[in-house]
């Protein structure tokens, strides 16, 4: 009876874990939810599933799980989620941070209250203090395992590796206060995109351009803003050919993208142009990789200095197009 109930409950949990992302996936299709969000939902589902499973085993099925077993299970489950479920794989540095937090969390969990701490430490005390055969065996095993583990760790540490060195690349280096483009000084703190104008020709405050999102820039009666977007698109796909690297979806996956290391910036990511002022983007477009500031070590950027090929207006227009296409708004400091 108990077994049947357990099987039924387990199936229900698995169904619940899988159903949510599946329903979202099937209902909205790829246009509604991208791969990243889908992976996030799967991850959340697995996390919730593990918690429900533990609750069923412990509280519903009445199978006791001593704290000394619970802690490693939590640790291993978290490792599986962060290492394998979470895709694409995260860098080792981030995995190390996450697992350090989980390790601390496990310790806090077993020592939340005095009864819990005593439950956790009693097998350790038994192993260290008792004279029974069982205690002795586990003692020998533990004291043999610890140096072996340390030796293994040392061996791994000393083993020659041929990986490329870790890089802490500054993705958003601070721009200079002003730049000189086509013999004109541009103050990056105060400059504005001259094409960011509304129908009456007045400067359009950031955020208000949302009225133009989703509208057709090729329409015969397209307003000035959309005309500039269209011209910017012309630069992106034509004059400059930005799409070869940045992709025709502006997601950094153009046909040339993977010839570079690192691959070009993904404008569709909320962590790139959506975080930056238009003047920052202008600086990067105009000066490219060679114009990166000192702090941007190791200056790993294949971006050409477009001021040598485009006019100032063309550069402002292509920036307008990039924000319009991605649906993001530039940052402002007011």
């Amino acid at each position: 009876m108990l077994k049947q109930r357990a099987t039924s409950l387990t199936l229900q949990v698995l169904f619940a874990v899988l159903a949510l992302p599946m329903v979202v996936w099937a209902g909205g299709g790829a246009g509604f939810i991208d791969a990243g969000k889908f992976a996030l939902l799967i991850q959340m589902g697995v996390g919730i599933g593990i918690i429900i499973l533990a609750w069923i085993i412990k509280d519903k099925m009445g199978i006791p799980l001593p704290k000394i077993i619970q802690a490693p299970i939590i640790w291993v489950a978290a490792y599986i989620v962060f290492r394998f479920v979470l895709q694409p794989p995260i860098p080792f540095s981030l995995l190390a941070i996450y697992m350090a937090v989980v390790t601390i969390a496990c310790f806090l969990y077993v020592s939340l209250s005095q009864p819990s701490w005593e439950e956790f430490t009693s097998p350790i005390k038994f192993m260290l203090q008792e004279d029974s055969g069982k205690a002795k065996m586990s003692r020998y095993f533990t004291f043999a395992a610890i140096p072996l583990l340390l030796a293994y760790g040392t061996y791994n540490k000393m083993l020659p590796k041929f990986d490329e060195p870790i890089e802490l690349r500054t993705v958003h280096p601070a721009p200079p206060a002003s730049i000189n483009v086509h013999d004109k000084v541009l103050n990056l703190q105060t400059a504005e995109n001259p094409f960011r104008i509304d129908d009456s020709g007045k400067y359009l405050k950031v955020g208000l351009e949302s009225v133009y999102h989703g509208k057709n820039p090729f329409a015969a009666d397209a307003p000035k803003f959309l005309q500039s977007v269209r011209d910017g698109g012309g630069v992106f796909f034509g004059t400059a050919g930005c799409f070869f690297c940045h992709g025709d979806n502006l997601d950094g996956r153009g046909p040339f993208a993977f010839a570079f290391n690192p691959i070009p910036a993904n404008f569709a990511d909320p962590g790139t142009i959506a975080q930056l002022q238009e003047t920052f983007v202008f600086w990067r477009v105009a000066k490219g990789g060679p114009g990166l500031s000192r702090e941007a070590f190791p200056w790993a950027s294949a971006m050409p200095p477009w001021e040598k090929h485009l006019t100032t207006n063309e550069m402002w227009q292509v920036i307008l197009f990039e924000y319009w296409h991605t649906g993001f708004f530039p940052r402002t400091w007011d």
Binding site: D34, A35, G36, L40, Q43, I51, L86, P88, P89, I90, P91, F92, S93, L94, I97, Y98, V101, V102, I104, A105, Y109, L112, S113, W117, E164, I166, E167, L168, T170, V171, H172, P173, A174, P175, P176, A177, L188, Q189, V206, G207, G252, R253, N261, P262, I263, N266, D269, P270, G271, T272, Q275, Q277, F280, E295, F328, F329, R331, T332, W333, D334
Partner: protein, 642 residues
């Protein structure tokens, strides 16, 4: 001293003393007034003979131009304008000297703040036993502060000598601008010393429970005021180095000292440091009490120090909660002053140092909650709430993971390729402000919830509206969590400038939890049925260690943020005015900075443990008698401590 035996004379004497200290507080206005007079004279003279005027680097509009009153900033040369000690990095030597002085300076500023509140709370107590306990605690901490005060002065001397020996060119330039302020600073230091000694040594004599006690408390208030003014002066120098004003672009002083003091970042730094100091003070006193708790031999001592550590922790956390908001304001002003500075800090070169800071802040909140969970172990009836701890821990850990996820990842090129770009499609979402704001607000709200549970864990509400109150509290915290998370997610779909604005409703939600939640909870517990007395002294050692962790995290956070604030000037001594031309004008690698910060923390705690030990050495008398201890549990636990 004889006059103290005559109550009337004693009162008059104390009143006069208070007046004199109050009058001496006008000292800081002398240089400002003198500066203004000088400017007037020069302006008048300017009508007769031509004076050179120049444009202020910061102040615009009216007062944009000032009379050139100083030499231009020197072009420093190495080794002529820099000193060295062998092959040691001069910058690191100065860094250590500066950090140690700052630690002790903060300590002697923070402890009197704590002592003032404790003395006041003690005076407000109706229960004489509790009043004495608060008074004794305040007195004991003042004694600790006295030892630390002399160390601060010594470290201040070392700092000045280090500046003179290693950075004479830079220090000469700064002292030419701030010379009047520097002298007033020294005079105020003397005033503070005098006030401190009168305050400490007059404690017992002025403890008459009436007028003299109020005068004594007023002296404490003046002591704190002097301390804060001293800090403001020191802040003005570092604020000038970051965001200079009152000088032209050549660095020539324009005659108005107030402008050089009142720079763009002065007030944000002042507010941030006041709150930071108060939190630090609570943390260090809590660590002291924990140290004494772990070393205590008698149940009475254990009970006393357990109670003391709780009160100090409470004070520390009370100031910690608004600290992130003061930090946001400071960052906003930095962005407003120079965009590059803001980007270098938050998204550029120094972004990873913020991850270190985030780690420390997460430790602060997690260890506070952990302490409260452990503290509930000594509260009969708390067993009812044990089952909720793990869920609160889960919420805190999930928030911590989001809080710690960096925007700029450290990775090998192979990992970068495998990820398909600099940003991860899933965890990349946690690297931005929307996620960070959500995480920290959830962590603070969870801490408030934990405190509410702590308040009620040995009580059963008896008010008629208890069921309604519980439902309200449940709805309040659930609604707050939903609102914070919703606003966080909504932030991904709106412009960055509007998104920053969302932090305001998120913070308001958290503050509503804090004020409304705690108030309703406290009202519900009026005349509540007690399930048992608090067993003071029965705190688990883990709880005491958690408070140590809390205090060490405070100090490490101070070190790392101080390093960050200083490094953001990059290769400038005074931003865009006086260039650092020494061989150390580069930004340190993270590992080196981490090591020096850790060494600074270790050095400070070693010295502080010595101060604690000195405090314990002379404290031979029992703090509370057995009867008084018995009264602790029975006495209504003071509002501030429970």
């Amino acid at each position: 001293m004889r006059s103290f035996n005559d109550p009337r004379k004693a009162k008059i004497g104390a009143g006069v003393l208070l007046g004199v200290i109050g009058l001496l507080l006008l000292l800081p206005f002398i240089p400002l007034q003198a500066g203004a007079e000088e400017a007037k004279k020069e302006a008048a003279a300017g009508t007769e003979q031509k004076v050179e005027k120049a444009k202020d680097v910061f102040y615009k509009g009216e007062g944009e131009f000032g009379i050139v009153s100083g030499p231009p900033a020197p072009t420093l040369k190495y080794p002529d304008d820099y000193g060295t000690y062998g092959t040691f990095q001069s910058r690191t030597i100065l860094w250590v000297a500066n950090q140690q002085h700052l630690y002790f300076g903060s300590f002697v500023l923070a402890v009197p703040m704590f002592v003032f509140v404790m003395e006041l709370v003690g005076m407000m107590q109706k229960d004489k036993t509790m009043a004495k306990k608060y008074d004794d605690m305040a007195h004991e901490m003042m004694k600790i502060s006295l030892t630390a005060y002399s160390i601060t002065a010594v470290l201040g001397g070392i700092l000045i000598f280090t500046f003179l020996a290693l950075y004479p060119g830079f220090f000469g330039y700064l002292s030419k601008i701030f010379k009047p302020i520097m002298h007033v600073y020294a005079l105020l230091f003397i005033l503070e010393s005098g006030t401190l000694y009168i305050y400490y040594y007059g404690w017992d004599r002025m403890n008459d429970g009436g007028f003299l006690k109020w005068v004594h408390l007023s002296i404490s208030f003046l002591l704190n005021t002097i301390g804060i003014i001293l800090m403001f002066f020191a802040n003005s120098w570092i604020a000038f180095m970051m965001s200079p004003a009152g000088v032209d672009e050549k660095g020539r002083f324009l005659g108005d000292i107030w402008k050089a003091v009142h720079t763009a970042l002065w007030h944000p730094l002042n507010i941030h440091r006041i709150l930071g100091n108060a939190a630090f003070g609570g943390g260090v006193v809590a660590a002291y009490a924990s140290y004494r708790l772990l070393a205590a031999k008698t149940p009475e001592e254990k009970a006393y120090y357990d109670w003391m550590s709780y009160v100090a922790m409470f004070m520390g956390i009370l100031n910690l909660i608004p600290l992130p908001f003061a930090g946001y304001w400071l960052m906003r002003e930095i962005y407003g002053y120079r965009q590059q500075m803001g980007i270098t800090l938050m998204g550029g070169l120094l972004a990873w140092v913020f991850i270190m800071q985030a780690m420390m802040i997460a430790i602060l909140f997690v260890s506070t909650n952990y302490y409260l969970w452990q503290a509930m172990g000594r509260m009969p009836g708390a067993e009812r709430y044990y089952r909720f701890f793990k869920y609160m821990l889960l919420v805190l850990i999930v928030s911590t993971i989001a809080w710690l996820t960096p925007h700029t990842l450290v990775m090998t090129p192979a990992e970068l390729k495998a990820m398909g770009g600099a940003q991860h499609p899933v965890v990349g979402n946690y690297g931005v402000m929307s996620a960070k704001n959500t995480a920290i607000n959830i962590m603070i709200s969870t801490t408030v919830l934990c405190f509410c549970i702590y308040q009620r864990c040995n009580k059963v509400p008896t008010v008629k509206w208890a069921a309604m109150g519980n439902a309200f509290l449940g709805a309040l915290f659930t609604g707050a969590a939903i609102n914070i998370v919703f606003l966080g997610i909504y932030g991904y779909f709106i412009p960055a400038n509007v998104r920053i604005g969302l932090s305001v409703p998120q913070v308001c939600t958290t503050l509503t939890c804090l004020f409304v939640g705690v108030t309703v909870n406290t009202m519900m517990l009026k005349n509540a049925r007690q399930l048992g007395e608090v067993r003071w002294g029965q705190m688990s050692p883990r709880g005491a260690y958690a408070l140590f962790l809390l205090a060490v995290s405070f100090t490490w956070t101070m070190a790392v943020m101080g390093y960050l604030r200083s490094s953001v000037r990059l290769h400038w001594h005074v931003n865009e005015v006086l260039r650092d031309n020494s061989p150390w004008a580069f930004t340190n690698p993270l590992g080196y900075a981490g090591n020096i910060n850790s060494m600074n923390v270790l050095l400070f705690w070693t010295m502080l443990l010595f101060v604690f030990w000195l405090g314990a050495l002379s404290a031979k008398k029992a703090h509370v008698t057995a009867e008084e201890t018995a009264g602790v549990g029975k006495a209504t636990i003071p509002a501030g401590s429970h």
